[in-house]
Amino acid sequence: MQHAIEVRGLTKAFGNVRALDGVDLTAPAGSVLGVLGPNGAGKTTAVRVLSTLTVPDGGTARVLGLDVVAQAGEVRHRIGLTGQYAGLDHDLTGEQNLVLLARMLGASRAQAKARAAELLERFDLVHAASRAAGKYSGGMRRRLDLAASIVRRPEVLFLDEPTTGLDPKSRNGLWDVVRDLVAEGTTVLLTTQYLEEADQLADSIAVIDAGRVIASGAPTELKQMVGGLVLRMRPVRPEAMTQLADLANWTIGARAKLEEGEAIVPVAHAGEATAVMSRVTQAGIDLVSFGLDEPTLDEVFLTLTGHRAESATEEEVTA
């Protein structure tokens, strides 16, 4: 099968800074690839190369089988880009922004207006259609920016830190929009500093640091690199603790840790947890609470790089 995004040994230096130092990325058509890394890791540079805005020094980058350097013109027909900084004209209204882009893409005046109306509706911006984009709130501007990148529906969409600086509500709204686009078959490459974001949206994640991919795989695979899941059970009667530990041992051969009224059972995957839980139910042990915990991607990053991911900062967001 042909990959929608295929990057091999990509390099790009700015003076002494190796922004990309041999990056490999792959995304099958219809999937979401999350590129996760702290500030300065090279995320934006990678997105700019893939969207034909920067010419790399070495390596190859193909989008839909097309070389982003040699076939840049064709690539541009089939991609959409939402850059790290809003690609909007702040003096124009939301509607004018969308109409302009549609016109540049060959729509007639009427087609452009219709498309703009459709997008404003879809992104919940009808009420702000005739307000200058510069006066939009952060969340609205991000939505308009995203709408602008799908004026003509792209096959591959690049989103560079789409939710940095947004409040949790706007962030969730934007995630829903991205999920809708993916459901319609769009391949998405999304960069983020939010570990949760990559986990929520991506089918596979590439962790990058200092221009290199330091780990990649499905979100669950990455988590397993720093250990599997843990099942926590808190029985109503504390005397039931040893019984829980025996059940766990007998069902999946796990050795439970008992601490502070909780039995903590390491499990390899959710299926094992379910198996233990059904035994517990059969045995008639009442639980106050139980839960399956995952190691966070923060922990993944710490394990992989030996340093913490810088927390996403608002200073990155211009207006």
């Binding site: 700015f14 034909t52 920067t54 880009l81 004209d89 003096d91 540049m104 729509a107 990148s149």
Partner: protein
């Protein structure tokens, strides 16, 4: 979601027009900016005419009749750097990143800027020319002469605007653009015959004045407005315009491509 396959073939010129319309749309949203476009040339015309005209030629009316048109041209000429400044701002704004990643003509992104500025220059020329007429300026060449002069001025503005496109693309800072503007425009205007006659200049500079494109422009405009047939200066002007376009358009497109490799 509708499938969005737009079949309309919109060529480079149509795309340039869309880009120009985009730059002008902010005027629609904020019409007060219309005044800004003619304030500088208007103030230059009025202050030179009323405050210096009488001193220089006895009466400001005579001065207006003699120097009015070239003062207007000079005022307009000082608006040329705005093309570089606006393009510089465009390039930083992120809109151009988006447009550059779209299947859009490179020329249109630059040409749209020039096109929009030409609309502003035309507007300024109409207003300031109208004021000159209102306070008594009359052209012997009549309507035809005025139209031809306006056409020549706009052609010149269009051509030199491309030098500012190149500056806007290559400048590192806004201050750089301002500096270049002063460094270029000042000597050009003071060694042209826009305000003065060639004979009054020192020998070496006379030669400069003769080949100065602003001299060619000033003399051509004077001829047309006076109803005289345009002569050698007109040909020189056409040469300058063709040369500017032939040099600066390809250089600008190249500079734009270069921006991509970095």
């Amino acid at each position: 979601m509708t499938t969005t396959t737009w079949t309309t073939r919109r060529g480079t010129l149509a795309q340039s027009a869309s880009m120009a319309a985009r730059s002008l749309a902010s005027i629609k949203n904020n019409p007060a900016t219309l005044i800004e476009f003619f304030m500088i040339p208007l103030m230059i015309l009025l202050s030179i005419t009323f405050f210096m005209g009488g001193q220089m030629m006895g009466s400001w009316q005579d001065f207006l009749q003699y120097a009015g048109p070239t003062i207007i041209v000079m005022g307009l000429f000082f608006a040329i750097p705005s093309t570089g400044l606006s393009l510089f701002a465009d390039l930083k704004s992120g809109v151009f990143d988006r447009l550059t990643a779209m299947p859009v003509s490179r020329f249109a992104l630059l040409g749209g800027r020039v096109g929009a500025d030409m609309v502003k220059h035309t507007w300024a020329l109409l207003v300031v020319g109208g004021v000159a007429f209102a306070i008594g300026y009359r052209a012997d060449g009549g309507v035809l002469g005025v139209l031809a002069a306006v056409g020549v001025v706009l052609l010149f503005m269009f051509s030199v605007s491309w030098s500012m496109v190149l500056v806007g693309l290559t400048a590192k800072t806004e201050d750089q653009i301002q500096t270049w503007m002063i460094a270029l425009l000042m000597p050009l205007s003071y060694t042209s015959t826009a305000f003065i006659e060639v004979e009054t200049l020192p020998g070496a500079i006379q030669w400069l004045a003769e080949i100065n494109p602003l001299t060619a422009l000033s003399e051509t405009v004077r001829d047309l407005l006076n109803g005289d047939a345009p002569g050698g200066y007109f040909l020189a002007l056409l040469g300058w315009c063709a040369g500017a376009v032939a040099v600066f358009v390809p250089l600008s497109l190249r500079a734009y491509r270069r921006k991509l490799t970095n």
